[in-house]
Symmetry: C2
Subunit: 304 residues, 2 copies
DNA sequence: GCACGACACAACCAGCGGTTGTGCGGATAT
DNA sequence: ATATCCGCACAACCGCTGGTTGTGTCGTGC
């Protein structure tokens, strides 16, 4: 590919060969094999060089795009000058969506999303420099943030109740958390020891709920399958969480009111991190554009 | 790259190997060499398979993008089911910009842009099926369109007068074409025998102008250099033409009025062409959204 | 008409990238 | 606690890809 682009730009195989530090015959062979694999002629050979055919013209921008994609891929893991790497809880959850907004606002800053299991792993990764920022709920009881980690309350996400069409509360416009006492709430994805588990534990205690985390976690699809078909089983889901479920499933998002439990997404970073785009990220999420203390909301007492 | 993506999806080198129809050892070697060239570890090897590291997680979407770019590149030259291929006069000229609008409206249709020298070459390419459509000014005198080629007047582009800051007309709000008689108009890019040359020849004749096409064509940059520094040399340029010139150059676009010469861009296609996206393209440009007969405009008499 | 420039073809060879065979370590089972 | 299995890494081997040098061919320009 690189040979093709170089030859197309140079207009002569000879010049491309010197650019690439190989012989003219090597360039000729590379182009020939590329043409053979594609099944089309890319150059018309003339006495004064090689000109692109129509197919070659159409192919050229795609070849350039391929080389750029390669450069981006390499840059994404290049230590030191790689793109800003942010840990989100999951790619379909609210922080990932919020980062899309940030990326639209700052397209010049490269952005890579990774997912880690819990806040402790995230802090280790922040310290080692493998990630630059992390969206977490801080801090869990008994685990205050260390001094070298900075944190901003980024935004709050209302929690919703997700049911199938046959569920008793399926047609409710909204429900109070206390009304859910006695209902079966199933969250098999919760990993013990993580801060999101601490959040939902506190939520359950505060309103007298019982959350079942029994059973293996097969991912969201089987969970949604089960919830959609059940008259009694339901689950919690963030308002911003993008769920993909088969078209035949009819799932209902029921808002919670009086109070509305909100999940507190905080932005964490390491104070020694000098990544150029990190400042912009902090400003984007720490500029007070989110209301952290809306009336009628609930968070665990340990939330900053 | 494909091995990396497959292994990341499978979670086990073994499974990836069977998917790729090679041995596990080959996969192991490929991943090892990839890690070596990148200088980072992409997988953590466990007893139950291989999991992505943080670097691997960040690398994965870029690797996927690379494979997709490869697929698009191949598809762009795949005979039969390739993307819609449209001939524009130049990548910075009005048809290319108009096609960007079309691509925004129909993102599902792949689109490749190529450039051919003149309408005859374009018609040959349309007949042979190497291109699907062409933007041209039709028809030149004495060269009516053949029956197997369809044409629609797509849109008209006003012609402007481009001068440097020292030119006599640099500060004019607008000029009449007839006022340009006696001024030096330089268009070294015009190729004799092409329809755009025929257009400007007619324009010159109609208003008593003299257009110099002397001197070799070194591209737009040297042309703009010369025009920017000259007190007497100027040139014609399409209103939609995107020119890139160094910041130190101060070029002026002077609109033409009474009448406004417009360049008639027509869309050409072959009547036997059954490309699925060609219909959409014809509808996009043939739906009467452009005013073809605005008062006060001028076109050569031979324009359809 | 001849020299020159540019690409293609032929022969040759190193090394990349595959294979088979085996070793090693962690997780599970007995 | 120990045996067993599963999955990945390492070693040896080898064919074929992809490079080199040398030469041929063709169109262009003096």
């Amino acid at each position: 590919m690189r040979t093709f682009v170089t030859a197309a730009e140079a207009g002569r195989f000879q010049d491309a060969a010197t650019d690439l530090a190989v012989t003219q015959q090597a360039v000729s062979k590379r182009i020939a094999t590329l043409e053979k694999t594609l099944g089309v002629r890319l150059f018309t050979r003339t006495a004064r060089g090689a000109k692109l055919t129509i197919d070659g013209q159409a192919f050229l921008p795609h070849a350039r795009e391929l080389l750029q994609a390669e450069a981006r891929a390499i840059a994404s893991v290049c230590p030191g000058r790689r793109a800003l790497r942010v840990d989100v809880i999951g790619r379909r959850l609210a922080p990932a969506g919020a980062l899309r907004d940030f990326h639209r606002a700052h397209p010049e800053a490269g952005l890579d999303l990774v997912t880690l299991v819990d806040v402790d792993t995230a802090i280790d990764a922040l310290r080692s420099g493998t990630i630059d920022a992390s969206f977490r709920a801080v801090t869990m009881p008994g685990r205050e943030l260390p001094d070298d980690i900075g944190a901003t309350r980024a935004f709050d996400e209302p929690v919703q109740f997700l049911t199938g069409p046959a569920h008793e509360l399926a047609t409710a416009r909204a429900v109070m958390p206390a009304e859910l006492a006695g209902h079966r709430i199933w969250m098999p994805g919760l990993v013990p020891g993580t801060e999101s588990t601490a959040y939902y534990d506190d939520l359950a205690t505060a309103f007298g709920l019982t959350i079942e985390i029994t059973g293996p976690d097969f991912g969201t699809e089987p969970l949604l399958d089960t919830v959609a078909d059940s008259r009694s089983l339901a689950t919690f889901v963030g308002e911003q969480t993008r769920l993909v479920w088969p078209a035949e499933h009819d799932l209902r998002r029921i808002p919670l009111r009086d109070p509305t439990p909100v999940y507190p997404h905080s932005l964490l970073w390491h104070r020694d991190n000098r990544h150029p785009a990190l400042d912009a990220l902090r400003r984007h999420f720490g500029s007070g554009r989110f209301d952290h203390s809306a009336a009628g909301t609930w968070t665990p007492a340990w939330v900053h």
